[in-house]
């Protein structure tokens, strides 16, 4: 039997800030799907630097987060950490540190596990406790896309 690396799926964002919380919405919806047993879901919210410990002990990471990519709301891209631009806001702030800052620190502090980012284009980021209509409509498709990739990865890893 092949030893498969466990995948830690991080749902990122602040769900009090509308579409910024899309990662959290996706991870929550994934929790209701049938998923391979080598996947661990974490509602990481606005965890910022607190996530260093989660990153340190993960074997592989899939981070789901909002990203401004000048695309249509709800569009998504699979992105590598190298494609993330360093934050323009203060570097190494503790509060609501963007994931990219936490990731950069993780790279310096220990061997960061292989990481992929599922980046989703938001429609509006503002204080609001629900998704914009555009993203609410796209949510099932986003969950489906992630779910699909998790099973593909599982099949590839277990050699079937």
């Amino acid at each position: 039997m092949t030893q498969t690396a466990r995948l830690t799926v991080l749902g990122l964002g602040n769900e009090l800030m509308g579409d910024d919380g899309i990662g959290v919405y996706v991870v929550r919806a994934l929790g209701e799907q049938a998923l391979p047993d080598d996947v661990e879901l974490i509602d990481a919210g606005a965890g910022g630097l607190n996530l260093l410990n989660v990153i340190e002990r993960a074997e592989a990471i899939l981070a789901i987060d909002a990203a401004d990519m000048n695309m249509l709301p709800g569009s998504f891209r699979w992105v590598s950490p190298e494609q993330l631009r360093d934050s323009k806001s203060p570097i190494f702030s503790l509060h609501n540190t963007s994931f990219v800052e936490t990731l950069r620190l993780a790279e310096r502090f220990f061997a960061r596990p292989p990481t992929t980012i599922f980046a989703i284009q938001p429609a509006s980021v503002e204080p609001r406790m629900h998704l914009s209509p555009a993203l609410a409509r796209k949510l099932p498709a986003l969950v489906h896309a992630v779910c699909d990739s998790l099973w593909q990865r599982h099949r590839a890893q277990s050699g079937r």
Partner: protein, 433 residues
């Protein structure tokens, strides 16, 4: 040469929590403008709570901030419990203490190691320290890992705790988990805290020797070093129960904007680690008092830059008291206790001494347990006026220095207050190549 004019405009102080712009303009030695501009956020969250059920409120407020999740949750629970007239068991109190210590440690340690230490070790950030001071970075990460572990054991997960509940907790750690906490505390955390005190005792003389006496306030409890119990005590001699917090603080719109600052008797005041250590020094754990002596920290302390030292002192206190809390829990034999809640209409105020200072949650519920009115005041809103007053006092003392030196000093000052902007968002910025 004495400078006649300064014009400083820092757009986002690096290594501060969230965004902060510093604006200082001085001409002929006169300060014309001196502002620390911080986005004021709680207003948005106040309106989000209206109409919410009592069992949703603390889950919403815990999302306000990833670093102060436990603090917002605790203040929220205290407010709801006060409104409903609930008391919590000894076991619940100990578990809440424990997770509170965990968050306090996590936040203070990140602040002193990742934000303050690089300033004092002449590094631009924590990154160069990985090479120059690997032992310091390794210790910081070890301590942080433990703090995270506490939050996980008591809170039920890594970030945004879910176990804390009005009337108690929805989860109880096992004896094995508590024994593991105790083992790590005694074998690793307390020695690492000793080393932390030694490091900052060495660095403390590098802190600017600036003093400006000002009013301060903190919770005080005759039975313990207060975190979320007791009454609000001010350095000006006032003491009020938490529901009367508006007797000692007043929110006021400043500078013809919508930005509000908080005043005490018409003057600025500060909250946070320095205010708490000043107020409750005698109730610190003996180990923490010993640390204060080593750090040359005498109370009352009037140097805003010394907030970092006060944070180290509080870390020693939290780690030492965590051992006591774990011992008491183990001797009681932790058992799950279902929180009991009877809803009633009324107002309740919860105040918690979160890492950055005094946090107020004030809720009014209807008879069905829905929020009909609420008020939130975060510590940064209280501190910002005092920080500006410090800047006003500091700049004239530095007119013989270069504008770069003045700017650097102002940035370190702002960082010492550890200001926080809870509504900042952190979307990713992707570059397609």
């Amino acid at each position: 040469m004495i400078r006649e004019s300064v014009n400083i405009n820092v757009q986002h102080v690096t290594r501060v929590e969230g965004h902060g712009n510093i604006k200082v303009r001085a001409n002929n030695g006169e300060i014309e403008q001196c502002e620390l501009q911080i986005v004021e956020s709680p207003r948005f969250f106040e309106s989000m709570l209206i109409g919410r059920r009592w069992f949703d409120v603390h889950h919403i407020t815990c999302r306000i901030c990833g670093i102060c999740s436990v603090g917002h949750t605790t203040a929220s629970l205290c407010a709801t419990e006060a409104a409903f007239g609930l008391t919590i068991s000894k076991q619940s109190l100990l578990l809440r203490d424990l997770i509170f210590y965990g968050e306090q440690l996590q936040s203070h340690l990140l602040h002193v190691y990742f934000l303050a230490a690089p300033d004092l070790l002449n590094a631009g950030s924590v990154i160069p320290l990985v090479k120059t001071h690997p032992d310091v970075v390794a210790r910081a990460l070890r301590l942080k890992k433990f703090a995270n572990f506490v939050c996980e054991v008591v809170g039920g997960r890594h970030v945004h705790p879910i176990s804390l509940w009005p009337g108690g907790l929805k989860h109880c750690p096992t004896e094995a988990q508590l024994l593991e906490l105790k083992r790590q505390l005694e074998q690793q955390v307390l020695p690492d805290m000793d080393a932390t005190v030694d490091l900052f005792a060495e660095l403390a003389p590098k802190l600017p020797g600036f003093e400006r006496p000002a009013a301060y306030m903190a919770l005080k409890d005759p039975t313990r070093y207060a975190w979320f119990t007791g009454e609000l005590v001010t350095s000006t001699g006032q003491q009020v129960s938490v529901d009367k917090y508006l007797d000692v603080m007043e929110e006021r719109v400043v500078r013809d904007t919508t930005v509000k600052h908080v005043f005490h008797n018409g003057e600025s005041f500060y909250v946070g680690a320095r205010a708490r250590v000043n107020t409750n020094y005698d109730q610190l754990h003996p180990r923490a008092r010993a640390a204060a002596e080593k750090l040359g920290y005498a109370v009352p302390n009037h140097n805003p830059f010394a907030n970092n030292a006060a944070q180290v002192i509080e870390c020693v206190h939290c780690a030492s008291e965590a051992v006591n809390a774990v011992d008491q829990l183990l001797s009681m034999g932790p058992k799950y206790q279902e929180p009991r809640v009877a809803v009633r209409a009324g107002r309740g105020v919860g105040i918690a001494e979160v890492p950055r200072g005094t946090l107020v949650h004030d809720y009014t519920y209807d008879e069905n347990g829905n929020v009909v009115d609420d008020n939130l005041i975060i510590p940064t809103t209280m501190n910002v006026e005092n920080c500006e007053q410090d800047m006003r006092a500091l700049v004239p003392q530095m007119m013989d220095r270069s504008q770069e030196e003045i700017t650097a000093a102002l940035e370190i000052l702002v960082r010492a207050y550890d200001p926080c902007i809870s509504c900042s968002v952190h979307m990713l910025d992707v570059e397609f190549v």
